[in-house]
Symmetry: C3
Subunit: 355 residues, 3 copies
Amino acid sequence: MTETKGHVLSSLAARVGGRVSGDPTVVIHSLATLQTAGSGQLSFFANSRYLAQLKSSRAEAVLVNEAHLADVPGHAIVVADPYLAFARLSALFDWREPVVPGIAAGATVAPTAQIDPSARVEAGAVIGEDVRIGAQVCIGANVVVGARCEIGEGCRLEANVTLYPDVTLGKRVLVHSGAVLGADGFGFAHDGGSGEWVKICQLGGVVIEDDVEIGAGTTVDRGALEPTRIERGVKLDNQIQVAHNVRIGAHSAIAGCTAIAGSTKIGRHCTIAGMSGITGHLEIADGTHITAMSLVSRSISRPGAYSSGTGLEPHQQWKRNVVRFRQLDELARRVRKLEQTLEHISTEGQDDDGC
Amino acid sequence: MTETKGHVLSSLAARVGGRVSGDPTVVIHSLATLQTAGSGQLSFFANSRYLAQLKSSRAEAVLVNEAHLADVPGHAIVVADPYLAFARLSALFDWREPVVPGIAAGATVAPTAQIDPSARVEAGAVIGEDVRIGAQVCIGANVVVGARCEIGEGCRLEANVTLYPDVTLGKRVLVHSGAVLGADGFGFAHDGGSGEWVKICQLGGVVIEDDVEIGAGTTVDRGALEPTRIERGVKLDNQIQVAHNVRIGAHSAIAGCTAIAGSTKIGRHCTIAGMSGITGHLEIADGTHITAMSLVSRSISRPGAYSSGTGLEPHQQWKRNVVRFRQLDELARRVRKLEQTLEHISTEGQDDDGC
Amino acid sequence: MTETKGHVLSSLAARVGGRVSGDPTVVIHSLATLQTAGSGQLSFFANSRYLAQLKSSRAEAVLVNEAHLADVPGHAIVVADPYLAFARLSALFDWREPVVPGIAAGATVAPTAQIDPSARVEAGAVIGEDVRIGAQVCIGANVVVGARCEIGEGCRLEANVTLYPDVTLGKRVLVHSGAVLGADGFGFAHDGGSGEWVKICQLGGVVIEDDVEIGAGTTVDRGALEPTRIERGVKLDNQIQVAHNVRIGAHSAIAGCTAIAGSTKIGRHCTIAGMSGITGHLEIADGTHITAMSLVSRSISRPGAYSSGTGLEPHQQWKRNVVRFRQLDELARRVRKLEQTLEHISTEGQDDDGC
């Protein structure tokens, strides 16, 4: 890992509005878990499951809430939300170096591209015509930026990212390696005569708003006529597929390998767990939560948690249950018939009561 | 977006065998939806759900069928299939520029590669030994083409595509960024003694026939001994996995994130919705349709629509149902037993009738 | 395909500890299936389903076990495990060329990187500061290797692979195109006040042990604080997602498009079929087998085969069953009630017996 210059505990506390308990002058060089942290390391306590680890931790200091301060063996920063404070402080210890302005030898920049002098373009990157790149942007090695893209201040495109023409990124967007923004949406008209598919050229671009993060290998297709849009603060994990004309509302977070089909609108502040599939032309309400590997095939108008699928079971047992699932409608009819028969018997019995 | 020179309405109508209603000399500069289209823009009407939008559209002209011509406020092109006509015309407005022949500075081309003088190789592309590249081909920035690949006339490889050695593309194949064609199939023999996996080198290549489109991040593995093959006119969306020895029949269309395991043969004119999984060594009949997120684990001999999975429901309700699914075989046995008991009671009752 | 110089049958037999039946001096130039093999080609027989193909094969020679030697029309190598022997011999016929040492023109290597003189770096590759690359390593075209990565002897990174900083590969690791190792894990703290996600910088790296293979487009995220780790001999197919802090035990094999969420520990010698999803913070026992497209949402302590999902069925039938699944808990309650009613009737009947 990279070496970081240290930070005194009091300055870390000040950054997160916390209070130091213990020696405010101790120096923190790196972050670690409660179990592994030692001298010069800061950890955090955010889950009562790990109380034993807190009590025996050798961390130089721990981020902790007031209630558990007494359990900290060493120094501490007391905050209301230790996990959130840990997140904020983590940026100080990141492996990413500050942006070194300049265009590396071995990069290819079109003559009409406008690149802010404070931006960095690494070796092997290829920047197209009429591209605009803002201040403090870092374009990684072998990245390709298509014509007319606009990349806002503080964006970072990691190595081997691809932007097709007409992709706009807001400020501080982080795009991970292998991500592809702006490829053609999957649009074809079927020619009933020949049985062939006729391509519908995809003329919209992609708009990514401020503070979005896009994971490795994630694909966001360009819109058919208007841009596909990802609103500010959205976090997309790896290998997500976002089809054309989709809109993802602000501050929604989507875990890896989820796919969202064309023209669907996801609300704001949604969370979608990994490997879920969302079919096309749906509307998902703000504040909806989808559990892992669910299929969403209808719009959701009421926020809440939703799921589909079945649970894991031993394979032999599962095989028997799967057979029964295929007969489930029939089984339900048989139960209904049993109920009717029993109803009849019981009614007959009541008639008999009169005897 | 790019500016396009306009097309007069009559020339657009002629291209799709349509008839102009209104002024044939109006000039169309771009395409748009019924809702957003304005002056100089062409739209289409193909779904009666949008009739209100058609009636209030401010589009310069609309592609429409005879039945709805009267509902068009402005000019129109009357065709039998407006959506298909729209697809055909969309190519005139594409953002892709005509191919500018030549090999960009910063591309690396092996001395034995044969590149047609009308082809384009962008900066950062690396072309291997004995590669053959046909007329009007466009090789995007940072694309890698392995040794002995053959790329037919009019193909387009978008930025950051990877072709391993021994991949053959027919004519007019479009491969999107991040796609990988020809990586090793997943083949290993298990060494029972050591518990280790021994690699089976994958010696087949990949053959992609004419007019195929391959989405961003899609992977098509090379065959073990003979090539993996994708027949003409097939359309593959993003992040699809095609394993070794698979064959996909002509004009089938497969949506994003679907995976097809080794040696499976998909028929012609199939449609497979997104995130479906198809296990290995199957045969899927021509004209089969698979709905989203289905698991296909047996061959399909009769065309038709097939599905698996369960529907979405509120998480708490789903949790109860999932528990019941694990007991489904037992439940079915209990229903059978109830039926037998009732049968017995009812038979006893009939015996009693004789009293 | 590449031409290979031939190998006499006796030398092939010696490599796999087999016995030649027939002429030990015949020369084998390539490998093929029983059906397609001809003169100069070696095939194998490992599945009794293909007995008819064995008997009619025109292969120059076949790898076969003792029991089926009499069924081989031509020459043979007799071994205990023909499939395993075939795997071992396949390496002799691979399309990969021996590594040609040197750094290609058009590669970019940081001055502090240490590259073994027997290693190869292809055109367009970008090697970061303080990287160490071992003997006989091959770095493909347009690969990016981040700062401080260590790449052990005999590794091969195919074209367009991305390694973030702080990724360590053992010996003989094969990484396929489009794979991304070391991207940020998906870690954010939720700021309840603003509703925004605050990034937790991901400070751990990735450790890949010896003899691992990583498929095309697969992503392995860096750990939050300590490295994500893949133990020796693991085989990962294409488009797999391995989240931060995951550990995959030695010699496990995972098929395409499977996703493993954060902090889960997979045991050794597991097999996980394609498109499975494994949620976070689980422990999966050594020797566990998961069938295709299963959701694993609890830890597994007993080895065995596990499954989830439902089987494929015609779409109309499936729609009815899916409705019933939503009512499954209610159905089970109705069956319980029927049982109680019948119990009651039958008990009444017994009371009546006394009459």
